[in-house]
């Protein structure tokens, strides 16, 4: 009964979406406030109904209702509760329902917090959002219905893929989707702006909080997915340039560019067409990611099911929205009035450079991800494009971006002096040079690129702090004055500083892990000791252990440093009997920001066990950096000027009223 109610709610939600997609647009044409106002309640109703459908599915998973095909395929009665719940989105049908749930959530939020928007803009935005929701509702109902019953309910389910039974995976997809799908709002705003033929600073001010929110979730979601891959896949890699990871990186890069260009639009009324284009591009890349992941053209941990009908359907959605949006763009963009002028050396100029590099880097990821697919479709040649490709293209494009990052915030608007800014960054440059020299002195025979990477990371971090020093006048005026100024700085300035510092920290972590990491793979017998860096690990043996829905073989290692025992690590290999699958549970020992990483391989011949050891210096910074970036975004979001419902000054209100 509950699943049928869920199914029914989903269909009702589709109906509401169709109303919301058409009536407000008609109302906007006829300038009828009552018809336009339909968008608000329908958006909230859509969310309520989709939430009901989603809860019905969660319920079916929690009570292990194996008469539902999705529950039977992905659940097991012995599974812990948290994985019963996270199993809801651990499969194609459920994850699509989550996708739509988040889509309608953002629609409802806009409806709830946009009373200060001009009525037509609001109507058009919510209508555009409803178009997206309607097509995806239709997609679920027609091709991926999670509420399909089996003719005969089996006694037991087939269990969730054990790799997905992990706390990180319970949170990673919802966060990622909040980011991915959150950019639908900026897309809808862009479409509405194009329909209205008007883009101004006020528009940017309304869009930026949504873009920021989505960007924060996406940042954290990607970081979390990366950490999950690091500790569950058993060989210590944290980024694989897997097409599916790239699918989330591309909207992130475009979204980061969007955040920065929206600043220019808001402050200087420039880069209008470009910002609109980025808003469309970001969500188009999200849709492309959904297509790549959901259509089955790629095989990866994220690809759940391969039903060609689904692929064609999503491809249709992709063509409809991306084609439609770019068509609208080509038709309407010339209507937009050109905005303010600026010199190449200026804050605007720096942000343009930022956009240029981010978008180009995004394009190289795009090429690397889609080229193998295109080549196979055209010539039948199968190739794989892996990390070497991205190291040779993406990294050289990001380095100048990072170098320029410290300059941007110090440049004034409209026209700046590069030499003066360079003088203010002398301290940062000195820190970077000292870092390079020191690292050469300590580890002269190490990898040559490592010291320069370290210098770059230090320059970015010091640059973020230099920005703060410059703004507060620390060292130039009295300390108390500087503190008072720091308190008076807008939160968005703090946000920039924290986020940029986070980027530097992440770079430092990446340099540390990739350049100074050590690894050893060896076959060991109990009692043997292995040395890695300044640690000695003694293998104490393996013992079996029983978990709720798995049994495992646990290895025990004593870790010594300078002869003193500093702890034990227990990596294990789990066997999930329902699927007959083995997973590797790595053991991590955290020392500061560095980690020792131990994972068990095959029990080899003659009582030996293959063990992999890694020493990963500064590895935790790779994820700590994005957390800081996210916090920077949150600080910026809390800025009073950007608060979603904040009253606008009378002047801008007059400016944005549609001319009637």
């Amino acid at each position: 009964m509950i699943p049928e109610l869920g199914h029914f709610a989903l269909v009702l939600s589709l109906g509401l979406a169709l109303i919301q997609a058409s009536v407000p647009v008609w109302g906007a044409r006829r300038r009828d406030p009552a018809l336009m106002a339909v968008a608000g309640p329908t958006a909230i109703g859509q969310f309520a109904l989709t939430a009901a459908a989603f809860l019905a599915l969660v319920w079916s998973h929690v009570v292990s209702d194996f008469s539902l095909a999705t529950v039977f395929e992905n659940s097991h009665s012995a599974k812990p509760l948290i994985y019963k719940i996270s199993g809801v989105w651990g499969n194609h049908e459920g994850s699509m329902l989550l996708w739509v749930l988040i889509l309608t959530l953002f629609g409802a939020l806009v409806a709830a917090f946009s009373s200060n928007l001009p009525a037509t803009l609001r109507a058009h935005t919510l209508a555009a959002q409803a178009w997206i929701a309607a097509t995806f509702d239709l997609f679920i109902v027609l091709t991926s219905n999670p509420f399909v019953r089996l003719p005969q309910a089996p006694f037991e389910g087939r269990d969730l893929n054990p790799v997905l039974q992990d706390p990180g995976l319970a949170v990673h997809p919802p966060l990622l989707y909040l980011g991915y799908v959150g950019f639908s709002i900026t897309f809808s705003f862009a479409a509405a702006a194009l329909i209205e033929g008007r883009v101004d600073a006020a528009w940017a001010r309304w869009v930026r909080p949504w873009a920021l929110t989505a960007w924060m979730c996406l940042t954290l979601g990607i970081a979390m997915g990366s950490y999950w891959a690091y500790y569950t896949l058993g060989w210590g890699g944290w980024w694989f340039w897997d097409p599916v990871e790239n699918a989330s990186l591309m909207p992130w890069l475009a979204g980061t560019a969007l955040l920065h260009s929206a600043v220019v639009l808001e402050k200087r009324d420039a880069l209008k067409i470009w910002t609109i284009l980025l808003a469309i591009l970001t969500f188009s890349l999200s849709l492309l990611g959904t297509f790549l992941v959901r259509s089955g053209v790629l095989t990866s941990v994220h690809t759940f099911a391969n039903d060609p009908m689904r692929g064609i359907f999503i491809l249709g959605i992709l063509v409809l929205f991306i084609g439609g949006a770019f068509g609208l763009f080509a038709w309407r963009a010339p209507v937009l009035r050109q905005g303010g002028l600026f010199a190449p050396i200026s804050r605007e100029g720096a942000l343009v450079l930022n956009n240029l590099f981010l978008v180009t880097a995004c394009a190289t990821v795009f090429v690397g991800t889609l080229y193998p697919l295109a080549l196979e479709a055209l010539t039948g040649q199968k190739i794989s494009v892996g990390a070497p490709f991205f190291r040779a293209t993406f990294v050289p494009l990001v380095v100048p971006l990072l170098l320029a990052m410290s300059f941007g915030p110090l440049l004034p608007w409209k026209r700046g002096d590069l030499y003066a800014v360079a003088q203010r960054l002398i301290g940062s440059m000195a820190i970077a040079v000292i870092g390079i020299a020191a690292s050469f002195a300590v580890d002269g025979r190490g990898p040559v690129l490592a010291p320069f990477g370290l210098g770059l990371a230090l320059f970015v971090m010091a640059g973020a702090i230099a920005d703060l020093i410059e703004r507060t006048g620390l060292f130039r005026s009295a300390f108390t004055t500087a503190v008072r100024r720091a308190g008076g700085l807008p939160r968005s300035a703090w946000g920039t500083m924290v986020a940029h510092f986070g980027v530097g920290l992440a770079v430092l972590g990446i340099v540390g892990e990739t350049q100074w990491g050590a690894e050893r793979i060896t076959a060991m017998k109990p009692g043997q000791t292995i040395a890695i860096r300044h640690y000695n690990l003694t293998f104490e043996g393996v013992s079996p252990r029983q978990g709720p829905n798995y049994h495992e073989l646990v290895g025990k290692f004593t870790v010594r440093r300078n002869g003193e025992v500093i702890g034990e690590v227990e990596p294990s290999r789990r066997v999930y009997p329902v699927r007959g699958t083995t997973t590797t549970q790595a053991a991590l020992m955290t020392r500061g920001a560095s980690q020792l990483y131990v994972s068990l391989g095959d029990p080899g011949a003659g009582g030996e066990t293959v063990v992999r050891f890694y020493h990963k210096p500064l590895v935790l910074l790779i994820w700590f950096g994005p957390v800081l970036m996210m916090l920077g975004g949150a600080l910026s979001l809390s800025d009073r000027r950007l608060r979603v419902g904040a009253p606008k000054p009378a002047r801008s209100r007059a400016a944005v009223q549609p001319a009637e």
């Binding site: 095909a69 999705t70 395929e73 499969n91 049908e93 969730l160 893929n161 790799v163 896949l233 058993g234 890699g237 694989f240 897997d242 089955g296 095989t299 990866s300 941990v301 994220h302 690809t303 759940f304 099911a305 391969n306 039903d307 060609p308 002028l341 190449p344 343009v352 450079l353 240029l356 590099f357 180009t360 394009a363 090429v367 690397g368 080229y371 040649q381 199968k382 190739i383 794989s384 494009v385 892996g386 070497p388 490709f389 040779a392 293209t393 494009l397 793979i521 076959a523 290999r573 699927r579 007959g580 699958t581 083995t582 590797t584 391989g601 095959d602 011949a605 003659g606 030996e608 992999r612």
Partner: protein
């Protein structure tokens, strides 16, 4: 600067960055992509020794041999598509689901003696999953049955998780 000069500066920078990116991409595509071959293709038209390729097929039952001490990390096995076999040598830890009779993708270089020296082994990560390249290679040889013992066709499954590329072990 006049408006025109500003625009020229902007367009010039954009073109320079795009040109740089295009050069990087073309260069990387020349050097760092890896072609996929089936065992038949490897035997019939071997690549130049030293070129990195991927081969995919089934681990031929009965061919997996672990080397004796002290080199206990080296494994020899044959990869087959039912028509031709390629002997593979690999040193390192094997993926969790590396088994005889199961699908596997190996990346490495072909030696002049016809042996394939792999440094990356990708195996399927789920009982019901088979790397797509392997399925295609087997289909080419007519060895693929939709519900065969080699692994059911992925299309019938609700939720599969498998990341050959995430399973690489070095």
């Amino acid at each position: 600067m006049t408006r025109k000069q500003r625009r020229l500066a902007l367009i010039g920078t954009a073109l320079a960055v795009l040109g740089l990116a295009a050069a990087l991409v073309l260069n990387a595509l020349k050097d760092s992509i890896v072609f996929f071959n089936s065992p038949t293709e490897v035997v019939e038209k071997p690549t130049k020794p030293g070129t990195r390729i991927r081969i995919g097929g089934l681990v031929k039952p009965g061919t997996v041999v672990h080397a004796q001490a002290p080199d206990t990390l080296t494994v020899h096995f044959d990869v087959t598509d039912g028509n031709k076999d390629v002997p593979v040598a690999y040193t390192g830890a094997l993926p969790d689901l590396f088994r005889e009779g199961q699908g596997v993708v190996a990346e490495g270089t072909l030696q002049s003696d016809g042996q394939f020296k792999a440094d990356v082994i990708l195996a399927k990560h789920d009982e019901r999953y088979m790397p797509k390249e392997v399925v295609d290679a087997l289909k080419k040889q007519g060895r693929w049955q939709e519900s065969g013992a080699a692994g059911a066709a992925p299309a019938t499954q609700g939720a599969l998780g498998a990341a050959p590329s995430k399973q690489q072990l070095r």
